[in-house]
Symmetry: C2
Subunit: 318 residues, 2 copies
């Protein structure tokens, strides 16, 4: 049940979205924020279900994240990890000991038949997160890549192989039978603003938009949707955004990102360094705002969130 | 494949068996020992498969056990445990962080379709255990109890409820379709001695003997089987042996234990404090040896193991 009237909805990947949310909670009461999180990076790891993007968002909003490293919990230890490396060479996906409790709790609940959205709600409450967090779908959708070293789960490419192999193709499994998690339709309808976080448009936002019904739901509320570009001066702060856009034969710059969202968003926030592309983005039907978007600094993150919100809530006055 | 000719086989529960094995490895080359471990205490815990008896035996034989506490790994930390207790009240089964690596490894392999005996072999090798460890069965057999607080998994009674509730009935699930794990039949046939460790005869040795085919296999080699009583002066060193024997309407003393094994063992080692029962046990068809059996002391454990082995290997001379 939506307990928040006219929430601000955020489509979110991992660290980029978490940094953006750290700004947004400074301008919107956290309880009025609904996060729709990417789950296509989720992985079964030695019997545990791990949801890296949901956890990153949760930990950042709970204030317990390792804000420097980006993932995991601040001050966590790696005793299990060290021992696991003695037992198997399959220890490349690092899990902290405190972080493990999240994975045990979630896996136990999933194995008991509880849907992912319900477990996610339980976890965010127990972690003390005021914002609602919804997985994009309760169905299992997985990002996979065909690379020069073979067919890989996204985490194999991203963590194990360090994004080094050339990527030939990106594809998703599990889409057919999937639909948006309960609550997403209502949240989008009721939202006063829907913000696409500065996450990787291919492997973070892309899977969210691929959930059957999601894109149409966003098209119906397009006038309230604003996207924030993850690129600065045509480059990603972190992660393989440019490489994966190129692998999809996309123009790997702010214009390329804007093209991906032009049917579902009317506002576009980009970095000052990319302001020279504003005209081309406007020509796609966007109202555009340019400002510094390096979100490492919480006060800059606040300014970016405020500007995105402003574009979404006052479209005609912009 | 058996790589050891004429092994010494040990039917084992948890800590009592581990203490006994610490003595046995002083008189038998560890590589010539085959442990058949109880798995009826195993539990799915927040998505992880935990095999307490197999792990206790493995950690003791690997020399990494917490020998004071009995379970787990020496010097382990409990960071995950502390965090899990913040997320759920289902945190009564304690898992150390280093110990967790075992459970992740095993669960991942089981989920990948690898049978428990193969995973157990992988684990003992990687932990540096020279003795072979076989689960009693690859099938899932579970000890359950009807108690005054309801129907419980053994670990709920043992750990969560601290053995406090009155026990009305002990029963097992999963027996019908089970059979002994691969290698057990050959090990018993080839064994020069088969020793029943001083473990709880009801909930540690009992389930092993209940695996269809196991009891008959032991009956066929009865002249090489020797049991060690877990009682001293009619009391258990640790755990609810007496309570659970009474719940089964059994005489809760050395004679009661001897009765449980009289069709499968010809030798019986009991504590000096119970020597007054030797005649009654002899009358059951046993040759009996009495000596101090408090196995906390590794040198006493060695003496008990040596005496049990002697009874098994030289029955006519005893």
């Amino acid at each position: 049940m939506m307990q928040v009237m006219q929430p601000v909805v955020v489509l979110a990947g991992g660290v980029g979205a978490a940094r953006f949310l750290r700004g947004l909670v400074q301008v919107v009461p956290p309880a009025e924020i609904v996060v729709i999180g990417n789950t296509a990076d989720d992985i079964w790891w030695h019997g545990l279900y791990v949801a890296p993007d949901l956890d990153t968002v949760s930990y950042w909003l709970a204030g317990i994240a390792d804000f420097e490293r980006g993932w995991g919990i601040a001050g966590d230890t790696f005793v299990m990890q060290t021992q696991l490396a003695r037992l198997t060479d399959q220890s490349w996906f690092r899990l902290g000991d405190r972080d493990l409790a999240t994975h045990l709790f979630r896996t136990g609940r999933l194995r008991a038949g509880v849907p992912l959205d319900v477990v996610t709600e339980e976890l965010r409450r127990r972690l003390g997160v005021a914002s609602r967090i919804l997985p994009m779908s309760n169905a299992s959708i997985t990002t996979r890549l065909r690379t020069e070293v073979g067919d890989s789960h996204f985490q194999e490419y991203f963590v194990r192989d360090g994004c080094r192999p050339a990527v030939y193709e990106i594809y998703w499994t599990g889409l057919e039978e999937a639909r948006p998690a309960p609550g997403i339709g209502a949240a989008l309808e009721e939202a006063r603003a829907i913000l696409i976080a500065p996450s990787n448009p291919i492997i973070s936002i892309g899977p969210i938009l691929r959930v059957p019904g999601m894109r149409q739901a966003l098209q119906a509320v397009r006038e309230r949707v604003v996207a924030v570009s993850p690129l600065i001066g045509g480059r990603a702060i972190k992660g393989p955004t440019v490489e994966l856009m190129q692998a999809q034969d996309l123009e790997a710059d702010a214009v390329g990102v804007a093209r991906l969202y032009s049917d579902i968003a009317q506002g576009f926030v980009l970095d000052s360094a990319d302001a020279h592309q504003s005209m081309r983005i406007s020509a796609l039907g966007y109202r555009v705002a340019a400002l510094p978007t390096l979100l490492d600094d919480p006060s800059l993150a606040r300014a970016v969130a405020a500007r995105a919100l402003d574009l979404a809530e006052r479209p005609v006055a912009a």
